[in-house]
């Protein structure tokens, strides 16, 4: 990823995309948010392999990239919801492409059957 010293504006467009959805969690976050807006805690429960800290950091970056909006409710305990923008939702076909190639890779290299649970992406 090395997002730090990458010039997103002028690098190759392929790199730009990878800097936006590369990594392990951003695709998962997008995937879950394609279902609808979700609270922070919901996301952490949907992605138990990620720490809260990571989810927070990824959400911040995605917000800065215009992929999602943050809806803060002035309540206690706090309530914050995240929702994909139209732009963020436009990643769906990109994820689909990545998913299809990945399935071929897993089949040819490992003889693995595609894992379930990515229905929104696979369709």
């Amino acid at each position: 990823m090395r997002a730090k010293r990458l010039d997103r504006a002028n690098c190759c467009a392929v790199e730009a995309t990878l800097s936006v959805i590369g990594g392990v969690w951003k695709p998962m976050i997008v995937y879950h948010l394609l279902e609808g807006r979700k609270r922070f805690m919901e996301l952490t429960r949907l992605i138990p392999s990620a720490t809260q800290r990571m989810i927070t950091l990824q959400l911040r970056e995605m917000e800065a990239d215009g992929l999602l909006n943050r809806h803060v409710y002035a309540e206690v305990p706090p309530k914050v919801e995240y929702e994909l923008t139209e732009f963020g939702a436009s990643l769906a076909p990109v994820l689909k492409t990545l998913h299809q190639w990945g399935e071929r890779y897993q089949r040819e290299r490992y003889g693995t059957e595609p894992s379930l649970g990515c229905k929104r992406v696979a369709d």
Copy 2:
């Protein structure tokens, strides 16, 4: 990328693909090899921002993933050529998809014109 502790065989297919072409250099290597087989030194000159060490490491991983073949000539000074497999070449449409989304991202977020030099991917 954190390739280390990722189970490529059983993880989500999206992750699998990202583990194979994620990062800054693998897409560039694939891109240049789509033009035809190339020697090691050619690649380092085509991708001057990467150190030789990185190119070597990336090539090794890509070979292990079945994306390319290594042709070693028993000569001195050494001569080694790298060539995409059919499987590796099947990444072209994936790169294209990433490239197209990246262009939109750069246009909408930064008003940047698409950078030249990715013709083989852009078509």
